[in-house]
Symmetry: C2
Subunit: 323 residues, 2 copies
DNA sequence: CTGAAAGCGCTTACAG
DNA sequence: CTGAAAGCGCTTACAG
């Protein structure tokens, strides 16, 4: 089933079929011809060969979304869903690739020949350059603020700052940071910790006590006891899972939450809401992020204007009983 | 950077380059020539054009993995990671696509021209047929037992049965099933419930009381009260999130776990271990599943023998304090 | 042992 | 308004 079939069946040339199906308004064709070709193509169930098209034009309708190797949260899931839907409206299909190990990225994008690559974790500069040279639209991600329109900024420091500010507002003066026991998360954890640290300095408080907390009660209990000896009363956890472990540790150590120690997480996972006490957490406006990302991809493809600068307002604190 | 460049630089024809780079052992070439071509290709950083290759051969090195629209758990995440690594050893790249809405699948696979499509939720028969006709290796999934080697069976009923058997073993005679409030999960929830139902019948117990439980305390509390009036003492929850909500409901209703009511979940998410009381749950042997899937894909591509029949032993009960 | 040539299906200058 | 032809980069019979 090729464009030649559609041409023969419609009584026109392949050229005309191509013009019609690609909606080339700059070339003059009778409406009757257009209708006929479209109808024939539909009747025959014709789909242009993506391989041939990619070979010819050097690009495809595929958007490659490269994910880092950290655990998917429901957030990423929803982000991709939004993105897929929005880009589908422009005839683009989103394909997700989960990066693992240090296998070279170029093998992949060369194999896919996407029109755009969207990295949800930072790219190596060499990779980004190579892709751009190959004519691929590149949208990268940074964990910090970044004004460039082709960079998606998820300012992790803001998350940490939000957590710390909230604890300070609740009257806590000695804070701790509960870090995750997972190397893949280190880059994120470090940025969030930097946010907590910065906020402490801003409020004239001592630097936060940093402890790695495994996702089990014993580890959390140890951490809690150490913190108590240091006078800690407020804990910012890397995410809700770590925060729930901390809550369990506090329970095991018979400490009252939030009167003796307050805890704040990040993500607002379902378990946070039904924890005892319900967990205060930071919620991300995934929809707003997805909208920005979509606009950034379309702009990089010159299919739309550059997106308006990203709103800083993508994080919200959800106060609950744990603080 | 094309194969012509490599040919010129190596002083051979494009034919020879193609033979060497595709490891055609059936054609006789001097070792010296092979070495030279390989070295030149490496030096020039040559990567064959996937588009041209796909156009020529009608297939690519891409394996398209189609995911359903339900929330990713860490399980899916790890499954894909295993799969990607194993298939990469055969020169195949895994690309993930998350299906949403009812957008037609054929648009996607025609655009990607993968050599294989792996569905992690069941395919429509028409879709599977169309893909096979296009020469694509298809590996499907079913929620039930299935002996076919090109079908990945995740017998959801076994999960429900495992939960129910455990509760019965702990002495419970009146069971409830806590269903999720998410349409996308209905197919899974129904199969798991069928497993619980079947187990109850097998043990000569009344059918389980089925209640939808939202992920909040109020909803869970209502469900718990209703169950108590029906004499329920054992609850099988769709997954750990629902189970944690049930635990919260029981706490709100001042019922003791496990003495008055026992709860068992599915997935073993991190929060399950640190819940109060720690949540009994069902754990899936993702590694075994990934190994089977890999073998199934390779077999469908005729790159390996059909995999041995799937072990039924992919689920394990993790007993903790909640039962 | 190696090379010239055809052809995969498409798009697009160019010539009617 | 429409068609014949070139060419994207590859693989593979076929002819030396």
């Amino acid at each position: 089933m090729t464009s030649a079939d559609v041409a023969r069946e419609s009584g026109v040339s392949r050229t005309t079929v191509s013009y019609v199906l690609n909606d080339r308004t700059d070339v003059v064709l009778t409406d009757a011809t257009r209708q006929r070709v479209i109808a024939t193509a539909a009747r025959l169930g014709y789909t242009p060969s993506a391989a041939a098209r990619a070979l010819r034009s050097g690009r495809s309708d595929l958007v490659l979304c490269v994910l880092p190797n950290w655990t998917f949260g429901p957030a990423i899931d929803r982000l991709i869903e939004h993105l897929s839907t929005a880009l589908a409206a422009h005839g683009l299909s989103v394909l997700v690739h989960i990066r693992h190990g240090d296998r070279p990225l170029d093998e992949l994008w060369r194999a896919v020949t996407p029109c755009a690559v969207l990295g949800l974790s930072p790219f190596a500069e060499a990779d980004a350059k190579a892709m751009r040279q190959a004519g691929i639209a590149v949208v990268g991600t940074t964990l910090d603020d970044d004004p460039r329109p082709d960079v998606f900024a998820v300012p992790q420091t803001s998350i940490g700052a939000l957590q710390a500010d909230h604890l300070v507002e609740r009257g806590h003066r000695v804070l701790a940071y509960a870090a995750p026991d997972d190397d893949r998360l280190a880059a994120f954890a470090d940025r969030r910790l930097a946010g907590v640290r910065h906020a402490c300095a801003r409020h004239g408080l001592p630097a936060p006590h940093v402890t790695t907390v495994d996702l089990d009660v014993a580890s959390a209990c140890d951490a809690v006891r150490a913190w108590r000896e240091q006078g800690v009363t407020g804990v910012a956890a890397y995410n809700d899972e770590v925060a729930l472990a901390v809550l369990a540790g506090l329970r095991a150590a018979c400490l009252d939450v939030p009167d003796e120690v307050a805890v704040v997480g990040v993500d607002d996972i379902p378990a946070a809401r039904v924890a005892t006490p319900a967990l205060t957490t930071v919620w991300q406006a995934i929809d707003a992020q997805a909208t920005y990302l979509t606009a950034a991809v379309l702009a990089a493809l010159r299919l739309a204007e550059p997106p308006p600068p990203q709103s800083c307002d993508v994080f919200h604190l959800v106060p609950r009983a744990s603080t």
